[in-house]
Structure formats: structure tokens, C-alpha cells
């Protein structure tokens, strides 16, 4: 624009100047509107189907974490919303849910699913839609390398790391000759393969592997297959038949000698451990992702989290002591939401255009210290595996209470792997 124009403006230059002034006046408001627009997170929820007991508590945990995040100013100053989508714990519905959250609800990213088959079915769709998919699943599938660059697990350790971490304590304290009883499908097979390997590495031996078909409702005929020299009985039964399993195991051994018993709390999540049918488990040991019952040495972060979710010292809902939580797993939802916050703030999240930058920001995670964001404890993230590694807890059932007897170190669960998601494309 030359001096002449400034001194003697034409109608065209006046119009252009007016438009520019109008744009300049409205731009800050637009930018502000965009920056204060809520961040929308999709939650793939097992509200119905076989995962419903978990789903109920995962929703409650997510809402509690959301409240804490928003009360502290949200993510990078923006409020956060969560949209829950029921997947009926079904792989097909899971994939559909991812599509609905991404394409229709237009969420920024998706998190929350636990059940392996749902995660494995939905992960390819998340990758096609190029949306970060943060799962809270234990199965050895993210770290196995069979998923994709968009799928991450920053909130809970996988089963391979869990059993690898616990095998030394089991063989050194309970016995070296182990019989495993597990459901005859992928979850049980992960335990079978990785625990057998981990026990052998400790100089122990799995003397029998007893696979129970998933349709089984009575277990009596399997117990005679437990070798007499068994020192530890390792069980990972899940589902509604678990009470029958424990009852029949108790009847099988009666009041006579029995091996040490080591189980996964997965069997008894959302189940009252004081249930009369579970008396036989008194004195046995359990893996717990996080101690269901409040321990004397609980950290401030742990009690803060427990109070925020509304869980009493026994692991049940504050308003209903019979409503027992999935405390051993549900911390993963809380911690994943805080990992999302950390990743979004690290990549200066603006909107969906930053989804790839978000994944790269999470891939830059390494040390994840304990605190209110991680009430279960400190963790370390392996970017190549897209998998976090954390502490594990072993508890003993004493007088109807689960008492912590051991906490594994972060290093205990590390295993060698050639998987490298960083070498894969987006």
C-alpha cells in the first residue's frame, strides 16, 4: 500500500481495510474459543456382557479421575469431557464403538477397554481412523507387537510382566514344584506359557498343567490330576464358576494336607472375599495389581485415590459394602487418564490434528513416578513395546483380609523383546 493510497483511500481499499480490521477483532475471540473448547475423550466401556462387573467400576473410576482433572484446571487449561460407549464386551461391538466415538462423537482419543478380544478387534479400526487408542488390558497383546502404532498401554502391566515378576517370590517362598490350573483359552494360555518359563528360570518346575474347558461347570474330575508332589497350586480361574471351583477344591483336599495355593485376584474381582464359599482360600496367596484392602503403609496418593473413587478400606463401595470393586485392575483407568493429560500437555494439544504428535509424546515417556497421578505406584514406560511396567503385589488371605506380603520391583517384570513399534508407520 503506497502513501497515496493511505492519504486518499479508494472504496476498495477501505473495504479491504475494514475486512482486515474485522478479522483482527474477531480472531482473538476465535482463538480463545478454540483453546477453551472442551477436550472430548471417548471411553470404550464394558457396560454389558461378560465384562460388566469391571465396566461398572471402570466407569466410576474414570468419572472420579475426570473430576480430579477438571478441578485442577483440566488439560492445558481446557475442560475435559468423557463420552462412554458400551461395547457389550464383544469384539464386533468394540470395533463399532471405536468408529462411533471417532467418526460420530468426534472425540479426540479413546481409552479404557480391558478385555483382550475387544482390544484386538478394535485396534485395527483405531489405526485406520488414526486415533490414539489407550487400552487398560492385561493380556500380552500390545507388547507382543501384534497391534499398531496408535495403540498404547501406559496404565497397567501386561500378564507376561506380572508372572515374570512374581515367579521368583513364589518359587522361593511357596515351593518349586508347581501345578497350574487355568482356563483353556488365551488368557489362561498366557499364564501357562509365561509362568512356566519364569518358574523354570528360577530353577523350579511346573509339574502339571491342567487346562479347564471354558464351558466347564464342575471341576471335581480334574483335581485327581494334581500330582502328589505338588508344592504350589497356581490357579487363574475366572468367571461365575469360580466359587464352585474353590468349593470343590476345598472338598477335594478336606482337612488333610494341601499344597500352598497361589491365585490371581482376577478370579475374585468384584467378589466379596469373605463369601462363605471361599473359606478354603484362607491362608492362600494372591497376585493383586493394587491391594484391594487398605494397607497400613498405604501412600497418601493411594488413600486420595481410594477416597476419590469412593472405595472403603475393604475395597467395597463406600455407600454399599456389598458392592465390591475391581480394585486390582481399575487403577489403570485413573492412571491412563493422567497419562493422556501428560501426553496432551507435552505435545501442546490443539485438536485432532495433533493425534500423531500425542502418540509421539507418549512414546517419549520413560520414568513415570508415583503420585496422585499414579496411585498404584511408579512405572516405567517402554516406548518400543508401547507398554508400561509397574510393581506387582502379593497378598495373603488372613482372617478374611488380604494382607500385603510382597511388592515386586520394577525390574522384576522386565522381559526381553524384539518388538519395536517405533519402527512401524502411522
Amino acid at each position: 500500500m503506497n502513501r497515496e493510497t493511505i492519504l486518499h483511500p479508494t472504496r476498495r481499499s477501505l473495504l479491504a481495510g475494514g475486512a482486515a480490521a474485522l478479522t483482527a477483532a474477531t480472531l482473538p475471540r476465535f482463538v480463545q474459543a478454540q483453546s477453551s473448547e472442551p477436550i472430548r475423550l471417548g471411553f470404550q466401556l464394558h457396560r454389558t456382557g461378560i465384562g460388566a462387573a469391571y465396566g461398572r467400576w471402570y466407569e466410576r473410576t474414570a468419572l472420579a479421575a475426570l473430576k480430579v482433572v477438571n478441578e485442577a484446571g483440566g488439560i492445558a487449561g481446557r475442560p475435559v469431557e468423557i463420552l462412554f460407549e458400551d461395547d457389550a464386551t464383544d469384539p464386533r461391538r468394540g470395533a463399532e464403538g471405536v468408529e462411533k466415538l471417532a467418526s460420530q462423537a468426534k472425540v479426540d482419543m479413546i481409552f479404557g477397554p480391558l478385555f483382550s478380544h475387544v482390544v484386538i478387534a478394535a485396534a485395527p479400526r483405531a489405526a485406520e481412523l488414526k486415533i490414539p487408542y489407550l487400552v487398560c488390558s492385561e493380556g500380552y497383546h500390545v507388547a507382543s507387537g501384534k497391534l499398531n502404532r496408535w495403540t498404547l498401554q501406559p496404565g497397567i502391566t501386561d500378564v507376561r510382566a506380572q508372572v515374570t515378576a512374581m515367579a521368583p517370590w513364589v518359587t522361593q517362598n511357596l515351593g518349586k514344584k508347581v501345578t497350574m490350573i487355568f482356563p483353556d483359552y488365551a488368557f489362561g494360555h498366557d499364564h501357562r506359557d509365561f509362568f512356566t518359563e519364569a518358574v523354570a528360570a528360577q530353577g523350579g518346575e511346573v509339574v502339571a498343567q491342567i487346562a479347564i474347558p471354558p464351558t466347564e461347570t464342575s471341576f471335581t474330575r480334574y483335581f485327581p490330576r494334581i500330582p502328589r508332589d505338588t508344592e504350589v497350586l497356581y490357579h487363574v480361574m475366572v468367571g461365575p464358576a469360580v466359587l464352585t471351583f474353590v468349593k470343590e477344591l476345598g472338598e477335594f483336599y478336606g482337612s488333610g494336607a494341601k499344597p500352598e495355593i497361589f491365585g490371581f485376584i482376577d478370579s475374585l474381582e468384584a467378589v466379596d472375599i469373605a463369601n462363605p464359599g471361599l473359606q478354603f482360600l484362607e491362608g492362600s496367596h494372591f497376585w493383586e495389581g493394587q491391594c484391594r484392602m487398605l494397607q497400613p503403609d498405604a501412600s497418601e496418593a493411594e488413600t486420595f485415590y481410594r477416597d476419590a473413587v469412593g472405595v472403603d478400606a475393604n475395597g467395597a463401595a463406600i455407600e454399599d459394602p456389598k458392592n465390591v470393586s475391581c480394585y486390582g485392575h481399575m487403577f489403570s483407568v485413573w492412571e491412563t487418564l493422567f497419562a493422556i493429560k501428560q501426553g496432551m500437555e507435552a505435545c501442546s494439544w490443539r485438536g485432532p490434528q495433533d493425534r500423531q504428535a500425542f502418540v509421539e509424546a507418549v512414546e517419549a515417556f520413560t520414568e513415570m513416578p508415583a503420585g496422585r497421578e499414579r496411585p498404584q505406584g511408579a512405572k516405567v514406560f517402554n516406548p518400543k513395546l508401547h507398554q508400561v511396567f509397574g510393581h506387582q503385589f502379593i497378598s495373603k488371605l488372613e482372617g478374611g483380609k488380604l494382607v500385603k506380603v510382597h511388592e515386586t520391583s520394577l525390574e522384576d517384570g522386565i522381559y526381553p523383546s524384539d518388538v519395536d513399534y517405533l519402527a512401524t508407520s502411522f
Binding site: E85, D86, P91, H117, I120
Partner: protein, 310 residues
């Protein structure tokens, strides 16, 4: 001719939908078309021949696993593996049919259910190969049919449409043919059909094989389209679903499977977005259907005037 025009118009409408549907419904429509193909297969056995099977998940998952395993572990080209899907469905249906068709009524339901459950358990048992209940994902390369990438939404819709169109027109041709009329005769009165000189066993076996073939084709296509093969598709739920789709749309109608599949799909989708008790809503709708339209929506339409609807 009028009926042919109606069916072609429906196909034209379905083809045109892909240009107007937003992303989420676009993918849903592709899913519905493949699942409706499965329902068309079920309808040939149940709706037209009167064979109430509770084991069709065997054929659907059989096709899915044949294609998925061959392309993932067998090193087959996706095109060839895709053709193995309907072949597997047809062969499995022939095998089951040769044994199960010696029974009828509730016994047929139980025997077909038993075969499907055995297949489901076999998938879980041989998890090392099948991925068990977790299943397995298919790589991008495994989903490319020559120059066509099934991960691309438009290609995916096109593939689903071609499959559905072939199944629907094939079904229409079948039920209007002499063979189709024999199937319907078997459904209406098997003994009378036999007395007229037809072989009901042969007709029922043919219906079951065609049904299995379409179910296998749908399973194979579904696996490649969405990149996942899993044991849950062999569970009893996937034997019940085609029955509900067909009952809702209208058993023994060519368009009923599409209508029923689409309605139930969106009923579940809508109900789960408005209430946590979505299953209650779906159950209530199905009860109302049984009470007021036991022959399904198109069956009701046929009763109320459109008698020539095939």
C-alpha cells in the same frame, strides 16, 4: 417384473447411499450389508426351507477362519483366500447337513448347535493357531485385493455392496426358480413334496449348502474388511443373531434379511446411546414383534396386501 424392479431399486438405493452417508453410518452400512448377506444365507435354510439351525455361526466363522488363516499363516493371496471362505462354509454345511438332516425339528436345532459349539471350542483349544478367544488381526497387505485396499472406506463399501447384491439377486433368482419352489414346498409340507416325487433330503441339503456358502462368504469378507478374525464370531450369539435379523425383517422374504439386520443394528446403536438398559429395550421390541408381527415386518406387509413379495 415389478418385483424385480423393486429389488433392483433397493440395490440402487443402497449403492447410492455411500455417496451421502456420513463417515460413521457409511461404515455401519458396509457392516450391515455383509451381515445381511449372512442373514440371506440363513434365510434360505430357515425362511424358505424351514430348517431352523442354531449352528450357523459354524459356517460364518468357518469362512472367516478359512480366509483369515490362509492369508495370515498360509501365505495365500487375499483373492484366493477370500474364495476359500465360501468354499469352507459350503463344505462345512454339506458335512453337517449329511448328518444333521437325518433329524428334524428340535433335534435338528440341537445337532446343529452341537456342531457349532464343537467348532467354537476347537478354536479356543487350538489357540496357538487360531488366536483362541482373542483372535488375531490381519495386516494391511492381507487386506488388499489386487489394487483394492479394503481398509479404504469406499473400497470397503463397494466390496460389501457387491457381495450383498450378488447374494440378494442370487436369492431372488433361487426362490423364483423351480428349485426354490421345491424348497418352499418342503417347508410347507415335506411329506406331500415327497409324494409328488421330489427328494426332500436332497432339497434340504442343497438349501443348507447354499446357506453355508453365503454365510462363509460373509464371514470371510467381514474378516478381511475389518482386519480381525476371532473366536467370538463362532459363539452361539452369532447363530442367534441371523435368526433374529430374519425374524425381524420377515422370514421367507428376499428383502427381509437386509431390513431386519439394519433395524436391529440401529436399534442397539440407538438404545445404547439413550439408556444403560439397552438390552431391555431391544428385548421389549423383540417381544412386541413376536406379539404383533410374528412373520416379521415384510411378512406383515405381505399378509396385508403385497402378496407377490418374494
Amino acid at each position: 417384473m415389478r418385483m424385480l424392479a423393486l429389488h433392483l431399486a433397493v440395490l440402487a438405493g443402497v449403492a447410492a447411499l455411500q455417496f451421502v452417508l456420513p463417515a460413521y453410518h457409511h461404515t455401519n452400512a458396509a457392516r450391515i450389508l455383509v451381515l445381511a448377506t449372512y442373514a440371506i444365507g440363513f434365510n434360505i435354510a430357515f425362511g424358505y426351507t424351514g430348517l431352523l439351525s442354531l449352528g450357523h455361526a459354524l459356517f460364518f466363522a468357518g469362512g472367516m477362519y478359512a480366509t483369515g488363516l490362509l492369508v495370515d499363516q498360509g501365505g495365500w493371496q487375499p483373492w484366493a483366500a477370500l474364495l476359500a471362505g465360501p468354499a469352507a462354509g459350503g463344505v462345512l454345511a454339506a458335512g453337517v447337513g449329511l448328518l444333521a438332516l437325518r433329524t428334524a425339528g428340535p433335534a435338528f436345532m440341537i445337532v446343529t448347535l452341537m456342531f457349532a459349539q464343537a467348532f467354537h471350542l476347537a478354536i479356543l483349544y487350538w489357540g496357538r493357531f487360531t488366536g483362541g478367544d482373542e483372535g488375531f488381526t490381519l495386516s494391511g497387505a492381507a487386506r488388499r485385493l489386487g489394487p483394492f485396499d479394503l481398509a479404504d472406506p469406499a473400497t470397503r463399501y463397494g466390496a460389501a455392496f457387491l457381495l450383498f447384491a450378488a447374494a440378494m439377486l442370487g436369492c431372488l433368482a433361487l426362490v423364483r426358480s423351480r428349485t426354490g419352489r421345491v424348497l418352499i414346498a418342503v417347508r410347507e409340507n415335506e411329506e406331500r413334496t415327497r409324494m409328488l416325487g421330489y427328494d426332500p433330503f436332497r432339497a434340504k441339503l442343497l438349501a443348507l449348502v447354499l446357506s453355508g456358502l453365503l454365510s462363509g462368504a460373509a464371514g470371510a469378507t467381514y474378516g478381511l474388511m475389518f482386519g480381525y478374525v476371532g473366536g467370538s464370531f463362532a459363539a452361539i450369539q452369532y447363530s442367534i443373531l441371523p435368526l433374529i435379523w430374519v425374524l425381524l425383517g420377515g422370514a421367507g422374504t428376499v428383502l427381509g434379511p437386509l431390513l431386519g439386520t439394519a433395524l436391529l443394528f440401529y436399534l442397539i446403536d440407538w438404545a445404547s446411546s439413550v439408556t444403560t438398559a439397552s438390552q431391555f429395550v431391544v428385548g421389549a421390541v423383540l417381544i412386541l414383534l413376536v406379539l404383533f408381527a410374528p412373520r416379521g415386518l415384510l411378512g406383515l406387509l405381505r399378509e396385508r396386501g403385497l402378496r407377490s413379495l418374494p
